[in-house]
């Protein structure tokens, strides 16, 4: 099954990016996403793309894996491009910039999820969202929701593929609305069942939304170097 799950999967490697503090990685993802959105000139885009490529290399992510991971998004790329082509006054260039931005968002999140185990993300999200406690929001619930999404979204893709194949083998035609409706309702049913099973499993393992995870996060040398590096990169672009 893992052969089909390229997106959102942590891969254990001994790299600098893997050992960075997960809180910093989340902040970098936010900063880089904003930067990608603000980049308009060709120069900015080339520098930005080179930086992301460097991160991919530093994280030792196999380029083939990325290409395969992007397969699921080809349809969205094509759709975005067509929309721009049809409705935007500046057509081609704007369409390409939109696709580039979308690609960068995907690559940035891929680097995060490839290099950070879910427990790291959970701890980081929990620590970063702790100020929300004053509004009565429990940080652990936010963190657990994110971790479950990361764990199960790829599984849902695989389930969808299995269901689609099994329907096609029985001559389903996905140009017909009733077959699309059927696959959507089956997926919803499966997702709700999985959610119910998971909720039972979490309660049986004493899930407690009130506790804070005891894992202590401390910034290391690498982390400070990365802060300087990212700051320099931001200055370089702007």
């Amino acid at each position: 099954m893992i052969k089909k799950l390229y997106f959102g999967q942590y891969r254990h490697r001994e790299t600098m990016l893997h050992s960075l503090d997960p809180r910093l990685k989340i902040i970098y993802v936010l900063v880089l996403s904003i930067l990608a959105f603000l980049s308009k000139s060709m120069n900015d885009m080339i520098v930005f793309s080179s930086f992301i490529l460097l991160c991919v290399l530093l994280a030792k992510i196999d380029v083939k894996t990325i290409i395969k991971g992007l397969r699921s998004f080809y349809f969205i790329f094509a759709f975005l491009f067509l929309m721009y082509l049809m409705f935007s006054p500046n057509q081609l260039r704007q369409g390409l910039v939109a696709i580039w931005r979308f690609l960068m968002f995907i690559l940035i999140s891929m680097i995060l999820t490839f290099t950070t185990p879910i427990s790291g993300l959970v701890t980081a999200i929990e620590k970063l969202s702790s100020p929300l406690k004053i509004f009565g929001i429990r940080p652990r619930n936010i963190a657990t929701t994110v971790s479950i999404a990361i764990r199960f979204i790829p599984v849902m893709f695989v389930n969808f593929e299995r269901m689609r194949e099994s329907m096609i083998s029985r001559l389903a035609d996905f140009r017909k609305m009733n077959h699309i409706k059927l696959v959507v309702s089956l997926m919803l049913h499966k997702m709700l069942k999985s959610a119910s099973n998971l909720s039972d499993a979490m309660y049986s393992r004493l899930y407690n939304e009130g506790i804070e995870i005891n894992k202590i996060l401390k910034l290391k040398e690498y982390d400070y170097v990365s802060i300087v590096f990212v700051a320099l990169f931001i200055l370089l672009i702007y």
Binding site: L5, Q9, I118, R151, V155, D200, S204, N208, I211, N214
Partner: protein
């Protein structure tokens, strides 16, 4: 260890469990057997307070699951039939540590308990592996490790051999037997396979939500098995 007193459980208008009273001794190996839809899983979920009875009570080491299901659950671990849906985190060692996080273990203690548990089940080499990359047999062991790490006095296995090949079936059943015989963990094995009864000392047979047999395995006879709708 576990005592159920006249429990009834209703889903919508239908009674899934009807007037069930039973006792499970500490250190015993009990098989809970019945045909599909006989109420086995629902009854098993009562043992760790995931489900509470509409009428009657379930006590785990004297704790009423209706009053304090959290502490009841600390005593009784549950390995679900669909172990795929049981894993919360995507890396093996993290998932095994999920219950320990909830028990508020310090990070160092959590790490050492997780390592020890994985080693015990001979899956230490899988610690850093993504759970989606595991075989069915390995997933089952990881699911068990997640429960075992919490050091429960009793573990309920809900049809643990479903979807496993013969080799993995034998492996998991041998491990369950080991946990009972060597670690003195009370085992409740929910099954519909008669062949798995050989591991148990006590047997509870369910039919349409009622207990039709509860006693030593040696007292079980063909008539009861046939009455429960199970093939001999």
């Amino acid at each position: 260890m576990i005592k159920a007193k006249n429990i009834y459980f209703r889903y919508e208008e239908k009674f899934i469990l009807k007037n069930i009273s039973l006792e499970i001794e500490e250190g015993s190996f009990t098989a809970l057997i019945g045909a599909n839809g006989s109420g086995k899983t629902t009854l098993a979920k009562h043992f760790n307070g995931l489900v509470v009875p509409d009428k009657g009570s379930v006590f785990v080491n004297g704790i009423d699951t209706k009053k304090d299901s959290l502490n009841a659950r600390k005593n009784v671990g549950f390995v679900f039939q669909n172990f795929e849906d049981q894993m919360v985190y995507s890396v093996v060692e993290e998932d095994v540590g999920f219950g320990l996080e909830n028990l508020e273990y310090s990070y160092d203690k959590l790490k050492s308990v997780v390592d020890e548990t994985l080693k015990k089940l001979r899956i230490g080499h899988l610690a850093k592996v993504n759970v989606n990359a595991l075989s069915q047999g390995q997933k089952q062991l990881v699911a068990l490790a997640g429960v075992l790490a919490m050091n429960p006095k009793c573990i309920v296995f809900d049809e643990p051999t479903t979807n496993l090949d013969e080799k993995n079936k034998k492996n998991i059943l041998d491990i369950i037997k080991y946990l009972n015989r060597k670690d003195k963990i009370t085992i409740i094995l929910v099954t519909n396979m008669l062949g798995e009864l050989k591991y148990a000392d006590e047997v509870i047979v369910l039919k349409s939500g009622s207990v039709i047999f509860n006693g030593k395995k040696s007292r079980l006879n063909k008539k009861i098995i046939k009455g429960a709708g199970l093939d001999d």
